[in-house]
Amino acid sequence: MYVLRRLLALVGVLLVSSFLVFAAMYAAPGSPENFLVQGRTVTPEVLAAIRRQYSLDDPFLVRFWNWLTGVLHGDFGQSLTNRQEVGDLLANRLPTTLTLVAMAAVLIVVLGVGLGIVAGVRDGVVDKIVVLGSTVGFAVPTFFAALLLMSVFSVWLGWFPVFGSGEGFADRLWHLTLPALALALPSAAVVARITRTAIRDERDSEHAVMAIARGVPSRIVMRRHLVRNSMLPVSTVVGVHIAGLIAGSFVVEYAFTLDGLGTLLVTAVQTKDFAVVQAIAIVLVAGFGIINLLVDLLYAAIDPRVGSRHTA
């Protein structure tokens, strides 16, 4: 029930936001046919023909309806700049962005939670380094991290390629390592800090102290008492940050000139290619919503109380 209601809400949000995005593009100053003729002087007949070709004379609601039914059939229309099918453009760009976001998500979990646990369990220098690192790491903008990583590991040491997303799976992973690292860094910093706090709270709790007093081996106390209980607050934060990667990926893709959705969106915004902009916006809002939904479901799976509270 809970899942169904959330899915319906997501569909509703998608419908309303696609309407808003379409309306905003419709109301934008500057007319599309002037953009299409690109400043050349043309006869009114040609202009009228262009308007007909792109059905610019239809009333607003008719155009929205045509666009929406097209999108539901997988037809996102044509790009205004190069006449390509927007759907094909998206399909070409999607793998890079998905791989990048997935790699960054793994890095956030591994680096963030791993370092957080280490800092939570060990006192002294290790802890201090992680805490300081997370304060500074959070303040490093992804594009700056990208430049630093690029100049050290690609230009100076030559370990990784500077630009491009690579061919084939292994090559792509290799090309995307630095971008994913740059993208994950600020979020990993936050996750590490939250994990550290959560572990420390659990370490002082009665059940953990009691377990140690009973003589339960420390590995088991760690796994069953500390880590497991501290994952609740951590999983929310991880979820928020993984959803946030979608927007963050634009910037990193641009910095490394990867051929992902983000670079496509940036060029489309710069050239006012509205067909592409609104298609990417809808795809991203959908992706954002789906990740948020998955995170909430995961949260309910970890903590049974959450699901029952929602359905009640």
Binding site: S17, P29, P141, V240, K272, V277, F288
Partner: protein
């Protein structure tokens, strides 16, 4: 003042000092910047640090120190617009929905949910697609994107205060809603607004710098830290790292200081951010 110093601690005072320095630099840029930040000279490209150019020059022969000083202005004004607009509109929405409750509350909550569905940067880029690139467009769009965070926190606190006697009794006396909201509710949520704004300022600075980096925020040849990091990318790869690194460090130091001060004031929770 003494309580403030005590609350901040030594590291916190360093952070406050850095922030004061940045603000001072931004305010006095026209007085102390030795060169025009937008005019360079072809013969002066890529100079190292010297008495004439404290931090050297960039690929267009412009003085990096002057550009950092002037860049502090747009890098601070942008986030300032964001937090002011967010705080004003967020508080207005929160107090309105708390005061009237019922249908008004649920309508406004739906509206905030809808805003939550858009990643912040995406919303800003959509606004820029419609209205064209520029600092003002980017700042206002981000402000809209931040409203749900602020509004949600203030709403939940104000909701608690709504039924307390100091709010109920003037209501019984027939004093109008807006008056009570401004006189009694607002002062009680004010600390929350300030802390939220401090945290949001850091987020806004990073995201506005990112937009400038993408070429969608502050436009060249104006000086801006995010833009300088982007401009310096080519020079960095050619072996002249000064411009990118220094501008990036300015952002990192300012944001880290803001984050530290914000944490001491009340933490990210006050900004309505889970993290």
């Amino acid at each position: 003042m003494k309580r403030f110093v005590h609350r901040m601690g030594p590291l916190g005072m360093v952070a406050v000092g850095i922030l004061l320095l940045v603000v001072l630099g931004a305010l006095s840029a026209p007085l102390i910047a030795p060169y025009d930040p937008t005019i360079g000279s072809v013969t002066q490209r890529y100079l190292g640090p010297s008495a004439a150019h404290l931090l050297g020059t960039d690929q267009a022969g412009r003085d990096i120190f002057s550009r950092l000083l002037w860049g502090a202005r747009s890098s601070l004004i942008g986030p300032l617009i964001v937090v002011c607009v967010t705080a004003a509109l967020g508080t207005l929405i929160a107090l309105t929905s708390v005061w009237w409750g019922g249908a008004v509350d649920s309508l406004l909550s739906r509206l905030l949910d809808l805003l939550f569905a858009f990643p912040n940067l995406l919303l800003a880029m959509l606004a820029i697609a419609v209205f064209g690139p520029g600092l003002l467009t980017a700042a206002f769009a981000l402000a809209i994107a931040y409203i749900p965070y602020t509004a949600r926190v203030i709403r939940s606190t104000a909701l608690r205060e709504r039924n307390l006697p100091y709010v109920r009794s003037p209501e019984l006396q027939g004093i109008t809603g807006p008056t009570i909201a401004v006189r009694h509710l607002l002062p009680n949520v004010a600390p929350l607004i300030v802390t939220g704004a401090t945290i949001n300022f850091g987020f806004a600075m990073i995201e506005l710098a990112a937009l400038s980096f993408l070429g969608l925020g502050v436009q060249p040849p104006q000086a801006d830290w995010g833009l300088m990091v982007a401009n310096g990318q080519q020079s960095l790869l050619k072996g002249y790292p000064a411009e990118s690194i220094l501008a990036g460090l300015c952002i990192v130091l300012t944001v880290a200081s803001l984050g530290y001060v914000g944490d001491k004031l009340g933490g990210r929770a006050a900004a309505g951010r889970k993290a």
